[in-house]
Symmetry: C2
Subunit: 484 residues, 2 copies
Amino acid sequence: MGKEKKEGGNEKHKSEGIITKKAENLSDWYSEVVQKGGMADYSPIRGFMIIRPHAYSIWQGIQDYFNKVLKDKGVKNAYFPLLIPDSFFKREAQHAEGFAPELAYVQGSEDGEKLALRPTSETIMYDAYSKWVRSWRDLPLKINQWANVIRWEVKQTKPFIRTREFLWQEGHCVFSDEEGAIENMEDIIGEYQRLLEEVLAIPIIRGKKSEMEKFPGARTTMTIEAIMPDGKALQCGTSHNLADNFAKAFNVMFKDKDEKEHYAYQTSWGFSTRLIGALIMVHGDDKGLILPPRIAENKAVIVPILFEDSKTKVLKKCAEIAKKLEGIGALLDEREGYSPGWKFNEWELKGIPLRIEIGPKDMDKKQVTVVRRDNGKKEQISEGKVVERVKEILEEMQGEMYKKAEKFLHSRIDEAKTFKELEKKLKEGKVVKVYMANNKEVEAELKDKTGGATSRIIEVVSKEGKCIISGENVKTVGYVAKSY
Amino acid sequence: MGKEKKEGGNEKHKSEGIITKKAENLSDWYSEVVQKGGMADYSPIRGFMIIRPHAYSIWQGIQDYFNKVLKDKGVKNAYFPLLIPDSFFKREAQHAEGFAPELAYVQGSEDGEKLALRPTSETIMYDAYSKWVRSWRDLPLKINQWANVIRWEVKQTKPFIRTREFLWQEGHCVFSDEEGAIENMEDIIGEYQRLLEEVLAIPIIRGKKSEMEKFPGARTTMTIEAIMPDGKALQCGTSHNLADNFAKAFNVMFKDKDEKEHYAYQTSWGFSTRLIGALIMVHGDDKGLILPPRIAENKAVIVPILFEDSKTKVLKKCAEIAKKLEGIGALLDEREGYSPGWKFNEWELKGIPLRIEIGPKDMDKKQVTVVRRDNGKKEQISEGKVVERVKEILEEMQGEMYKKAEKFLHSRIDEAKTFKELEKKLKEGKVVKVYMANNKEVEAELKDKTGGATSRIIEVVSKEGKCIISGENVKTVGYVAKSY
């Protein structure tokens, strides 16, 4: 970098890079990236996390995007209480059974009743719905809330992926018939897929959950599942057709045009801060995070390459370029006392999509140097074209990140005809398509025999085959994998 | 309305208007407006509320506005855990004493420690700050969170005004010296004032809290207080200079340029969904809510005046005008089966700033009729000027709502020289300026003797006067009132 003395050689305040290789130990690598990348910190209480600003900006980006989707669909945001009377959980039998082990309660009781911290809000919302819904004129009712939820996990926790408190959105809609509910369930899972694919650049597999894996209290659950680098599936969002199960339990009824009272049909659907965990695992590399441009709050960082004799004019040029790129969310890292190399490492660790270097040599050529975070490709861009070209590069990067992840996903989907083959492929980190009966007994045995694998989605197919567990003839194929 | 048969005479599904007069019984009027105006509903658990979409849209408007303010100031959003180890509350003595009565705990314990639901997050955030802050380079640190908080109120609750759970923002900043903290405290209280005055059209008095009324653990608390129609003050936002009190309790230290370790200086500041309660009480009238245009998600509602023979063309015109007004957030109420009068009442109840009536007579004159919610003034606007004029009317309305509220506020501020005079003026619903010593003993006596009045703000003045309680000479003047 020339003979001149560089400013800012102070490497004492050093940013510590990632030590663990992603391919060698995914779990350790993940912990390091989460902490050193400034995404989350551990709380003094086991299983809870602090969502730091860098990660929270991703959550806000997701909220902004999805609030627009909700608005277009006429879904309105509201807020329901954190505390739910214990008796509410007992009204829908499957729901009660499903959530009982994870409920946390407030000390003492109110009017003789224990109060649970919400693990999900079907019960308290539908108690209100039973008062709000009177007539066919009140339907459809479409409400969403952004909230924190508490599930007292016994499994080992992992920031974003599995924590005792997380942030999420939960949508709860009411329709006059089951067709309306089914349509809504499918529409929303499609929106979730679009969010993952088009914004987060995460490819997914999508389908229905098996009897064992569906939401407690739902008739049907649809899911989107991403595949992590270790071949484990990560459930990224679910949408449920609750049919009239909860309407019967909570008395959500409406007078239809026939002047008679009918039970309503309902849906619920949600995704959580777990998406941030998916983003980290799918895109990150040995240098740290890689944020897809569309979700990055800061899409580029300008790093001045400073030498004593050209410092003033380079900083001036950097400010000028930063001003031009303000609209796309470019940062200017003018901090003194840090070398360019130190800054490069820090922004790589944090996954900012583009680095823009500007030094005296670039200035002589009236250009800037742009470096892509995902593949390290450098490109010189003439100053006059910087806004236009940076925008293009960001879109190229978004597309290529998706394609790379998609290629990986496809490489991990396989199939098996025998249980032995299934076991072998699971060990290779594959998601394995197998014929299996869609019932709890078969799936419990599958889970037991594979040491934890379950069907992530289950599909009805036209051609019959033998269930890999029971040997009976079935027309259902499961995508079997271990999962987070 | 002409001789033609009106469509939609179905008044069975009737919107129930407000029965109580605001001037006669503010408390009953408030409850009615909150419920019938679709703002909140009671939860099955005492002291908790459901924030319904109409009120939540106001909260989102406040969030959007304030998130821009935060971003401009370099304050970043994050999220800290709901549950806080009990021992954290005991580290700062005044804080512990102040919050102990309102703490709710989770059943059981974790690693032998009781876990409290956050009533505010100083303690858990500063525990993290003690790890994050190392050097002067890390300062200032500016973090905010939007969250739910739980305070187990024993006083009677009231939706938005006092509830056991509410939503708020809490900002927590760290500086290298107290000047930085003081500047931040003052800057933020100024931003709160701007939000109230310019967005919510709520005038306030602003100043410092007395020793008794300040935040537990703060050196200084600044407050903005709005005056409700009954003369009671409503604290709408506070900003605290915590000095190094919490830094010492939580060990928030940094190495300064002198290479020595120093305690940091901190601020915290917050406002809550209580602002929605202020909005309702300050602006509402006997017909229901009145939303200031700048915070109303829907700033106008178009109501077609339909007759059989002109129905199609009127609806077409309404759609055309609605399209033109899309950018300002206009609704088109095309619902069938409801008369225009019914719709007028409903939208008045909900406080939508403008009603735009379009009927065959308006069409003949190529005009629309605009009615302001706050004063009922009607105005005919020619179709070509509708966008421009509607925008103007909205701004006029915003300004006049503020002026009206400001006039009321000024009419309620008075002063007293004797305790008898103070008592009399408090009974008249005044906020009364009196000389009073700024100490806990005097204020406790004041509170006791007046049946609950306290100083809402306290000012240092140049001219000495006699304390209205102790008779001693003091240079401090309190604004005394009862409060919510």
